[in-house]
Amino acid sequence: MRAAALVFVLAAACTPEIVSGSYLCGPERACPDDQACDGATNICVLPSQVQPFACPSQSETTEVEPNDDSVNAQLVANLECVSRSAEIVGCTRDLDGEDWFVFDVPVGCTAVAVEARLTFPLAFEVLSLEVHGSTGLTIATGGDCAISDAADGDEQRCLDVPLASGSRYALRVARSGVGTCGGACAHNKYTLTLQLKTP
């Protein structure tokens, strides 16, 4: 009888035991078998507990719509040559495919660069980050960050670009069309941080 119980225990141990709420959702809402991605928290839970995708609450969101093009871009004000880190919490969903932010580089900076980091859950659509000059041309596109760990459930895009003093620049956060779950997760929330610094 004991041997039978031992065999049962050994056999049972061969199947992964993953409690609901243990993992963050992977790319395109990937979760362990018999679990599903909760849209509100992007945590893998039992299918019966799944909530639809939700943007951060109004109290958390610092992005202000409409900011869907460079003309209506949201201003990130009061940046100095060596600035504090400004943080914007935003969301892109449905017809809101991109968000724009503008900032001014102060006059008189001897050398200045912008360091921006876009962080978003990898469970939903991949976002892109670009910096545009005053002419509207794309100066740089965000790439992989030097310090980044996708295992923590977030993906990041970074850029570090020298800028001209006394000019206006724009940052564009947009949905990339990658990782949309066939359209079912064509949305995402993000945190954008930027600061000016001496390169």
Partner: protein, 153 residues
Amino acid sequence: MSTTTRIVASALVLVGTSRVAAADRDIVIETPGERSTNTKLLLAGLAGAGALVGGLGVYWHLDSRTAADEVSAGKYTGMAWTTEDVALADRADRSKTRATVAYSIGGALVVGAVIAFIATDPPSETVVIRPSRGTPTVAPTEGGAVLGGMWSF
């Protein structure tokens, strides 16, 4: 023949008769049977194959458990469910299936070996020796007597 001689002869006859009566029981000799070389090879092959396949089952069982332990979680990990985790879970499932199949085949082979061992048990050979009753003979001789006997096997 003197009286003394007759008495001695009678005593010898009595002693001889009692000895023969003791040897009157059957002598049973049992010789255990021996399996043929082919049977021995068959049994060893079955048992060896069973052990080998069972060993593979243990290997896959442990591999399955290792992979399952790597992704098992009882509380919030703060980690995302990645393709590596999917691969580990798949490996755990695949090895579990292989272990189950190997245990089944290995177990069947070992059981088959045990059944074959019993079924091919050669009968032992029993030889019964029935000593026939000895026939004492007493032949009086001059100054005494000669006691003799005959047995057959």
